[in-house]
């Protein structure tokens, strides 16, 4: 497969001016010199993105991912290195960039389309499709400044996707508009993928990357950390974000006088095979090594699970007698066993703590020390796999000629309700 985007040894230096002299007077006073600190936003970045790939870029704020995207788009010029892009390219760095508030939606479609590289004839051909996509048929001749923010963004997205580029660069703009519009955008992205176009997405949302990308790259401090399949990359990203990953678990001692230290933590699923992820409903075992310099008989082990948006999914009950334990001198191993994990797709991080039952003291607390991945082979979506039973029963009451009007709230539509009405 041909390479769509070839990034070769790209470096980009920014100058962080200690004091910025943009006026002539200041420049003269300082002899034309401006003290600055060089800052490498990108350093020796090499990536090959194949045609037809949907490529995600992950990284913390300021890691250089947006700078890289701007370099690929040609908005910024790299300090050294070269980027080769095969085919036409459109960048969605901001929706509706270049809209003139004083012009009508119609004029802005032409302006924005031209900025994205379409000829006048091209835009005329696609004009109706763009308006229909943006759902703005009634407002297209109104000035854009009177548009709601939703309308504005929809128009921006509609123009950008209707450019139909060979290579599309997207910077965290997929989440626009209401749910129906988002679905339409995703459908459009899917169609692009099917047609073999190349898409590069920069996002913080690991879910977006996981669901849409075929490959992902993690960046930090302007360097490439890893380029891998999305799952692996997300793991590396979270490890980077949470400061775990290659962390030596023995590095920090216990909080309470170093009596305790939680050592290596492991997560294992109860499923068969060597797969690295967990299927929903499988068991999960978390084990943690524990070093102890004293015998404690009133310790409580706690565990908490967070999702990739750092929202708490579960935290154990400290009053649960099963969590209370005696820990002898020298320590041992704590085992947390979940017989069934009813979670759906996602990466979840695990935090583990050992605290005293009688005092408020925390012996040791390891925040988000490890993580596990749940991958759902089915098509259910969401966070939790709720037990579900769907059944169908014939509505026998219809023979009596009575028509059930509306089921009361909480009632199950069907025979039992109808029987109530009859009686």
């Amino acid at each position: 497969m041909a390479v769509a985007i070839d990034v070769v040894d790209i470096s980009k230096q920014f100058r962080l001016y200690n004091e910025k002299h943009t006026s002539l007077k200041e420049r003269v006073i300082h002899g034309g010199k401006m003290p600055f600190t060089p800052f490498w936003a990108l350093k020796d970045v090499n990536v090959e993105i194949d045609e037809g790939e949907t490529f995600g870029i992950l990284g913390r704020n300021g890691c250089g991912k947006s700078t890289l995207l701007k370099c690929v788009a040609g908005i910024l010029k790299p300090t050294s290195g070269e980027i080769r892009v095969r085919g036409s390219l459109a960048a969605m760095l901001e929706l509706g960039a270049g809209f003139q508030p004083d012009l009508s939606g119609r004029d802005n479609i032409f302006l924005n389309g031209s900025l994205l590289g379409l000829s006048h004839a091209d835009i005329e051909k696609r004009f109706d499709a763009i308006v229909a996509f943006a759902e703005l048929e009634d407002f297209i001749d109104n000035q854009v400044k009177f548009y709601s923010s939703g309308m504005y963004v929809r128009l921006g997205f509609a123009v950008a996707v209707n450019v139909e580029p060979d290579v599309l660069l997207v910077d965290e703009v997929l989440a626009v508009g209401d749910a129906a519009f988002q679905r339409k955008c995703l459908d459009h992205v899917k169609r692009f993928q099917k047609e073999g176009r190349t898409i590069v997405v920069v996002s913080h949302g690991t879910d977006t990357i996981r669901q849409n990308c075929s490959k992902a790259m993690v960046m930090n401090h302007g360097k490439v950390i890893t380029i891998d399949e999305p799952g692996e990359a997300i793991r590396a990203y979270l490890a980077d974000l949470l400061g775990v990953g290659t962390l030596d678990n023995s590095e920090s001692g216990g909080i309470e006088g170093n009596v305790f230290a939680i050592g290596a933590v492991q997560a294992e699923h109860g499923g068969s095979g060597s797969r690295s992820h967990l299927y929903p409903g499988e068991s999960l075992t978390i084990t943690a090594d524990l070093d102890s310099l004293a015998a404690v008989d009133n310790a409580i082990a706690t565990i908490a699970i967070h999702d990739d948006r750092n929202e708490l999914v579960f935290a154990s009950d400290p009053d649960d007698p099963g969590c209370q334990m005696e820990i002898p001198l020298g320590g041992g191993m704590v085992r947390f066993y979940f017989p069934e994990v009813p979670l759906l797709d996602g990466t979840y991080s695990v935090s583990i703590g050992i605290r005293s039952r009688t005092q408020t003291a925390i012996f040791d607390w390891k925040d988000q020390v490890t993580q596990f991945e749940v991958a759902n082979p089915g098509r259910a979506t969401g966070r939790v796999r709720l037990p579900l039973d769907v059944s169908f029963r014939l509505r026998s009451v219809l023979h009596t000629g009575e028509v059930p009007v509306a089921a009361p709230i909480g009632g199950i539509p069907g025979a039992p309700v109808a029987e109530q009405i009859v009686s």
Partner: protein, 329 residues
């Protein structure tokens, strides 16, 4: 240390799995075109890009014109009112108050102002155009020189409107232009456009880094205006310099002529105003040199050649500075 991530390859659950297996879109011609982004300034590529994006240029011009007169009742009439008012003021000051004897002085003034307005309007608005459109420059990749060129385009539209007013005035006053000199005007206009574009592109880029440029430009353009024979005649200068007491200062004349706007303004005056001298109470006043069409052509050709050189230079400077626009704005 932990479970690593791996997608199950269950059919239908993975959107990626369908790539390559299904129909690929038909590669267009542009599909095989490779764009290279690096730190170098490729002059040829820049010019090609400018040409490719000419649709955008026209759209930018249209946008600026629309925005300029949006919500105004008189609209385009303003673009005529402004120069007409300037013309009226100069006319009153020089003809009525300071008793200038030149016949149809207003027409003479108009010929020069026409040229100057095109140059001045472009340079002034181009200086702030990249900074003013930072929201586009930071987010969209396109040849940014177009922004500067669009200000020249807008001025050119206003120029056309003013030419209409001038033709009307010529008809009313029954002034006959010097027909043999009229063919010079397209050449003069092209030279003017190229020179103005060069300066506009240069100023728009420099102003991103040195915001004082805007104010400096204002002052320099004012000085430049009075250094160009528009309100007064070139003939007055050359007559004065021909006197023996200014013998050592003849070089001033050549410095004067090296101003690229001067030959262009003089060509307009020569062709439209038509006279090189006038007689008042028996005293002859020379207002323009008695050059033939050939001399004017030569001067304008040199002017054009220099302007093309400056234009290319401006593109190179712009290309150098453009690389960090998104960062500086």
């Amino acid at each position: 240390m932990s479970l690593s991530v791996d997608r199950p390859s269950a059919p239908g659950s993975d959107p990626v799995a369908t790539i390559g297996g299904t129909t690929r879109f038909v590669p267009g011609q542009r599909h095989h075109q490779v764009t290279v982004v690096n730190g170098k300034v490729q002059l040829g590529q820049r010019i090609v890009d400018l040409w490719r994006n000419r649709d955008l240029l026209f759209l930018l011009i249209r946008t600026q014109l629309k925005v300029k007169y949006k919500d105004s009742v008189l609209g385009y009439v303003w673009s005529m009112l402004n120069p007409t008012l300037v013309l009226a003021i100069y006319y009153v000051v020089f003809k009525v108050i300071s008793r200038n004897n030149q016949p149809y002085f207003a027409i003479w003034l108009f010929c020069g102002l026409l040229v100057w307005n095109l140059f001045n309007n472009s340079a002034m608005s181009a200086t702030g155009v990249v900074v003013g459109n930072s929201h586009i420059v930071k987010k969209v990749a396109f040849p940014r020189e177009l922004l500067a060129l669009s200000t020249v385009g807008v001025s050119l539209v206003l120029f056309a409107i003013q030419v209409g007013v001038l033709i009307l005035a010529l008809l009313i006053f029954g002034i006959v232009p010097a027909w043999s000199y009229l063919p010079l005007l397209p050449l003069a206009l092209v030279a003017l456009i190229v020179f103005t574009s060069a300066l506009s592109i240069f100023l728009s880029a420099v102003n991103v880094y040195l915001r004082d440029t805007q104010h400096l430009t204002e002052v320099l353009l004012m000085a430049w205006f009075w250094g160009t024979p528009i309100v007064y005649a070139f003939g007055l200068i050359s007559t004065e310099l021909a006197k023996p007491r200014w013998h050592s200062l003849v070089w001033i004349k050549y410095v004067y002529l090296s101003n690229p706007v001067t030959p262009i303004a003089m060509a307009f005056q020569r062709a439209i105003y038509g006279k090189t001298q006038y007689t008042y109470h028996g005293a002859v006043t020379h207002i323009l040199p008695v050059w033939g069409v050939g001399t004017f052509s030569l001067l304008l050709t040199v002017d054009l050649a220099v302007s093309v050189g400056l234009f290319l230079g401006a593109l190179v400077v712009f290309g150098r500075l453009e690389g960090n626009f998104a960062e500086e704005l």
